[in-house]
């Protein structure tokens, strides 16, 4: 499957917000969920992931806190804010509209139909 990585990159923020809607999570878990969902076709680089975390935190979409695991690893968890939920809904709506529009623009059938009529 060939994918346009650039196209996906533009939606990193909403891709990260989506799993946080259900429960708080940490970087690796989010990235792993992305891999599993896409059957290993896509994964975020650490740098991309954390640049997005910083951006989302600064804009008030998410909060972070250190978890207190008893054994060894200390993980930073992210939780979505009310504003984050609103942003997610808005971005999802935008994506649906854009997708629909691109589908229409790239679909040749209708135009051929028009040409025949002329």
């Amino acid at each position: 499957m060939s994918i346009a990585a650039d196209l996906i990159r533009g939606h990193t923020d909403v891709i990260i917000l989506a799993p946080l809607i259900h429960h708080d999570s940490y970087g690796y878990e989010i990235n792993k969920a992305i891999q599993t969902k896409t059957h290993h076709e896509y994964e975020l680089k650490e740098a991309t992931l954390y640049t997005a975390f910083k951006r989302l935190e600064e804009s008030g979409c998410i909060n972070s806190y250190w978890g207190d695991e008893n054994k060894g690893a200390r993980r930073k968890y992210y939780s979505i804010t009310h504003y984050g939920r609103e942003t997610y809904i808005r971005l999802l709506e935008e994506w649906k509209n854009t997708k629909q529009m691109i589908d229409i623009l790239l679909d040749l059938k209708e135009e051929q139909h028009h040409e025949r009529k002329d």
Binding site: E46, A47, Y50, K76
Partner: protein, 219 residues
Amino acid sequence: MKERIRRYIESVFDQAPKTKQAMELKEEILQNILDKYDDLIAEGVSEEVAYNNAIASIGNVDELFDTLQMQMDEFYQYPAYELDKRRQRSAAIIALAVMMYIVSFIPVILFDDSPIAICMMFLIIALATGMIIYDQKTKIRHPKLDMMQEYEAWQEKHDDTKKLRRAITSCMWLIITAFYFWISFTTGSWHITWITFLIGSAIEEMIKALFDLVRRRDL
């Protein structure tokens, strides 16, 4: 192999600004990479391949470090004259407060230890202290310095010996204060007993020096 991953992440973060945020980020990314490595090993991948895959998933950190740098640089966006004005105001407040500390003894000297004079002294001291606190709280904070301090404070928190030192010094100050009131009320020599606090400061410095000495020997 995990040590190799740790070393690699350390070397990547050599380029990052030395702030608490960067240190936390390093810990976060290191943990993720280790998780990924463990998962790959569990899938039956060889150590070498797992290492390379895990490291490759870091990607380009330049943009990330730029964001950290930008947070540090924000301070310099304040116009210079604004900073100057604030600095002058702060200097005036501190000078006035110090003057009030010195002047606070005058009523006691003039009215010879009457309760009203002592009350006035404490009132002046309280006012001066209030002014210093106000000045500290309204300061434009220097993020670069701040972050360094924050980072040091954060490191300190993870340092058990410093925790012990803080416990000892705060305990000492309580005892010193209790001692000050006890000796002052029993002897009535308020004009000299404040020296207890100077002795307290000296003891605190001594404790600090002692801890430093022990730590240096450990290193």
